[in-house]
Amino acid sequence: MTKKSSNKKGLNRRKFFSVLTAGSVGAFLLPANIGKLFAQDTADKKPETNIAEALKHPRTSTSMPGKYPSSVVKVYHENCLSDNQPDQEAAYKMITSGMLALTGEESIKEAWSNFVKPDEVIGLKLNPVAGKMLSTSHGVVKATIKHLEEAGIPRENIVLWDRREFQLHETGFTEENYPRIKIRGTEIKDKEDSFYNKDGILYGEEMIDKDWYYWADVEGKYDEHTLPYMVNEGKYSYFSKICTQEVDKIINIPILKNAGSSITLCMKNLGYGVISNTGRLHEKLWSETSAEVCAFPPVRDKVVLNIVDGIKGCFNGGPAANPQFITEYKTMLFGSDAVAVDRVGYEIILAKRIEEKIQEADKPKSRQFMEYANELGLGESDIEKIKLREIKLA
């Protein structure tokens, strides 16, 4: 994988817009209407970002939207909960059905070989941020690991990861529960509950890769309590070394959750999950960050598969967990196209929000990040163009 040039700031959005106007786009191809979106953003006075720098990198055979663009498989299993928790055996069957339908292969081993190889290090990007009640479930994670092992991936080559290592531990992703599998996080606490090493440096500092960054013209400034969760301040968000250096491929396993009237699913799990200094990005660049971070090669070229854990999810109050809004969707989604998977997940959550009378109709603004991701060439956001296959398991 090519690393970024030493031009620290890179092209900002305004400069990029000029480049487009001058017709010197160069090596990267863009959809014809991308200028319209940027023009609109300029009118809204959106802060500039270094998205143009990301788009300079030539695409590879594994770049998003991956092997199966515009394809999503939705698997529903009536009896996928056991003692109110996602059941590993049911999840295993759901994964089998989903993977075979997605790839069109006849054997499950062949299906997996479209995404991963035995000598690769595979990162499973989880989402434990809402705590035990609404974390990526153990049923789904353990079933995925079983599948990977059967596909020839040794346990030693599997990494469970997220931003916060301690949140993974708190939600049960421990060495004890997952022997021989690495549990990694960018933000780390030691056994004394300290974020800082003996030299007073944040452990998180050692986990960020300063060669890869998302720059946005929004300053992050944090107090002493918050800084360890953000790793650094300023206008740069650095990619985690777990993403840039430690894993070869990423399987993204978010949970089916809302974020206001939008969703926090595949792209949000990546956009806000693989970089530091995210607190500054929520207010003005929520949609942009979710899409743009996925356009950087460490994410764009490594995320080969998305498996949405929607056995339990939420329809309001997300991304936090509020029991009243947690529901049993009994569903998993599969796709290499993160944008298309997000769009299908969005429809599921929207339908539930309407049923629960939290809203009466779709709100197109809530889909903005998917449409932007589509314009960045990351996947399909138009529901009419998505090939959705639905499977019901008894």
């Binding site: 309590h225 206001g260 947690i326 939290i358």
Partner: protein, 274 residues
Amino acid sequence: MKVLRSIIILICICLGFSGYSQINIDDIPDAKVFPQSEYNGESLWGYINGGADLYLEYGFNKLMVQEIEWKDILLKVNIYEMSSEEAGFGIFSANIHKCKKRNVLKEFDCQGPYQYQVFAGKYYISVINEIGKPEAEEISAELGKILLEKIKAVQSVYPDLYTTTLLKDHLGKLKFCKGKLGLQNIFADWSDLFTEIKNYNIWLLLQENNKIALVEFEKKEEREIFLTLIKTNKVEKSKTWKIDNRTLILFESSSDNTDSEKYLQLIESYINKN
């Protein structure tokens, strides 16, 4: 601001908050009590990441988190100290939905299988259990009772429009928000109407067939922008009344609501009185 000034205090057991002191072993001798963690405005972000924004939008002071193991059930207590009683009510109203049981220990509480929630002045309390069984539900409320006694001060505040005869029985459906995230959580369909407006307070009685909102804007001009948007968006069967310089009442009714005339009369009579 006559209407909002006439906000009433319904219950006032003790004025002047003495603050909350954490649960200790003396409160529940047969329980295992874990140490309490505290999060302030900024560190809340570290604790619940993007979920913090909703609390910060309402106005947040601190969060106290404590785990208690009682009768073999692990309970997680979250006590949010908000910046005002309105903020306490608002975050409570955003967090409740189709309560299985209401008014279990006091007005404005909500009992579900996994959670007991209550609004107590500027505090919003949530007691969560992980098993959702009847015994866990019962013990969550029992712990809620202990917490309410420790907080001592219990106040409820909302505009007196909602205490009128026709509406007072529906107070459980009253919501309060003061920003886009609150609105997205409470009634997302209106969020486009407020896109251009920076600061506002919305009291909203959200009923099956109608909505009665009291909206306070920061500036008179913003109220005018809102009224234009209402017209542009052709919000069906809606009617607005201006009150003082920055406030209005908005009534929205579904087309099959045969009671709408009753509500219109009520609002008009309320306005005449004020």
